[in-house]
Symmetry: C3
Subunit: 271 residues, 3 copies
């Protein structure tokens, strides 16, 4: 993928300051808001069924995250999602913990049936679950995760007819036809809660300013991973506490130049 384009979209986020409406979980709300602010976007969290439709329609993107879902939140997500759909606002979905309980699997299915989702981001297990490939994921072992993860993403994208972002040691971004594989990021991200959730919201910020949603998603994943690398260079030896604050700082300072120097994302040939 063109590294200059990634920097350009990042620049547009900072210039346009898009409103990103998050209906997210109570664990990551503060971190998500601070991450979006640091990056240059304008976060808003609104949950009441009476207002989510009004908020979603004026947003640049709507992010639905089911990390601590309950029946009231799901109702609000559906109202907000339908309003976003009606007004051409892209909807990004993070099916946190799909598969962990039957309720989550069921609610993820309901959200996807009632709302047209533009981009879904999750780890391999979550994406497999919402695509109905539970069995195959259980069979994944360390030796062949990488290959499977790409296939999983592509198959899920085709089946669910949406852009799929599977994050892990490698990140896969695909619409089922064109597929990017990225390798930016740092393992310490797994020691800070909400780094996956924040990435989903950052994808929302990029999707708010770039109509090519596959490029937006791939660019967000790459810039986010580079910010993590920059922060890890300074703080990974200290630990996850100092890292998380430095990461916010690097989300604010990651630049097009950093992208050119550090981006590791390539289009996968063939299929």
């Amino acid at each position: 993928m063109d590294k200059v384009l990634i920097g350009d979209i990042l620049h547009k986020v900072r210039k346009e300051n898009p409103l990103v409406h998050n209906i997210t979980n109570v664990v990551v709300t503060n971190f998500t808001a601070n991450g979006l602010l640091a990056l240059g976007a304008s976060p808003v969290m609104a949950y009441a069924p009476e207002e989510v439709g009004d908020m979603a329609k004026i947003a640049g993107a709507l992010v639905l995250n089911m990390g601590t879902l309950n029946s009231a939140t799901v109702e609000s997500m559906i109202i907000a999602g339908k309003s976003a759909n009606d007004h051409g606002v892209p909807v990004i979905f993070d099916p946190v913990g799909a598969g962990a309980t039957p309720y989550r699997t069921e609610m993820a299915g309901r959200i996807m049936r009632e709302v047209k989702i533009s981009i879904i981001r999750g780890n391999a297990g979550e994406i497999a679950n919402i695509a109905g490939f539970q069995a195959e994921v259980k069979g994944v072992d360390a030796g062949n995760v990488q290959g499977n993860q790409i296939d999983l993403a592509i198959t899920a994208a085709r089946k669910l007819q949406t852009i799929i972002v599977v994050t892990g040691k490698e990140d896969v971004i695909t619409d089922g036809i064109t597929t990017f594989v990225g390798r930016n990021g740092h393992p310490i991200l797994t020691k800070v809660t909400g780094t996956g959730c924040l990435l989903t919201s950052v994808i929302g910020a990029f999707a708010a300013v770039e109509k090519n949603l596959l490029a937006a998603a791939a660019s967000a994943v790459t810039a986010y991973g580079i910010a993590a690398e920059l922060a890890a260079e300074r703080t990974a030896s200290k630990g996850p506490g100092n890292f998380q604050m430095e990461f916010l700082d690097q989300l604010a300072s990651v630049s097009g130049q950093h992208v050119i120097e550090k981006a590791f994302i390539e289009q996968r040939e063939g299929e």
Copy 2:
């Protein structure tokens, strides 16, 4: 305003350790609690309708923040607010996002009708909205923001019969008769979520220990702004992540001496 008085009220907060009952939004809860603790106050968050009346009446101040309001929270706010009113506990209101959706405008109105509010803090747009001056605010442009912001605050205070704090590049604190304009603070505050909300709760802490609520509000705004300046001196070049932790540290260490050296608050003549 007398700088020694500001330091004295700050000192009283630390000495008396007032209980500040917050019914606030899910984005800023942790930051608000940590900010109040750092300052020397004693935060409590309680939301259940069964207990908010009991909690509010033993508090030194009640802070109502509608950042992520829903119908249940509004009910709890009204129960808590009436209990505070009955027991002489000052109520501080933060109409987050008033005007962003019709629901917020309506709920802000309902809270203000049912609860006697002592102090309201918001940005210019929020204050204009709750005072019913939407049109005038839309007309504000960069060239005449300052003048308008003072007029807005004074007019809102007179109309709503309460103390109004409008924060922004300049901060205006007024009861409609006496008006203070402050210039402490730092732009990086806008890059950390909840810095406005925390200020509202800090005003609550000051109002809990000082019966002259206008002096309490003006002192809180000034001390808070100075703590931000001290933190920015050390971390603004790093970014919003390191700043926010340093800001908590400076809320704990800002002193009467700092106030004397750095306070920039003056009473506005005339009107």
Copy 3:
């Protein structure tokens, strides 16, 4: 208590990465998740009545924290607690603010009647309240806190038939027969919100990997206190903001060797 055993249990937490299901309050959710992750455990927050039973039964421990309880949360706690009881999952209870309002006292009683609790952690006032010793606690003054705190813990453990952890300047861990008194920790912990709540969840992580729950609780309290000391050595002079991030780092790096050097926990003779 054998210091090597404390280090061994700490090591088991890191090796086994136990799932700790938290139904906790909105103030501390993020900090709790980050603290558990830093330590090496695997936190999950799930609140919906439809799923808490499923989540609790696959967890290594269930932590119930009533910091911002409401009627819906209490229902979920009871469903989750019964499921944990049925599946042999230890339940740790943090009666935050018990006694502050009649509602909290009542709900704490209800939770303890309906769920079999393995370990309860609180401060002296909370433990006295749930054990029904309000009067005695009111009589506690600075001069005789230590003696009373030990007696309080033992009497509460016998009455409630559970392990009691009373934290404060000294920490007491007792099942009513065997009693440990610990003196690790640092006063700056009281300036960061949720450090008590996080300790309760850390006790859950230790209880998930060690069947001797008294040893698990005493080990958790000790390792946690040592991590706080290590963090305070580096940041206490800065303030509570920098301390809290360093504390997360030290939860990640506190080791068996640190325990051998710094643990201060002894079994109390007699009774």
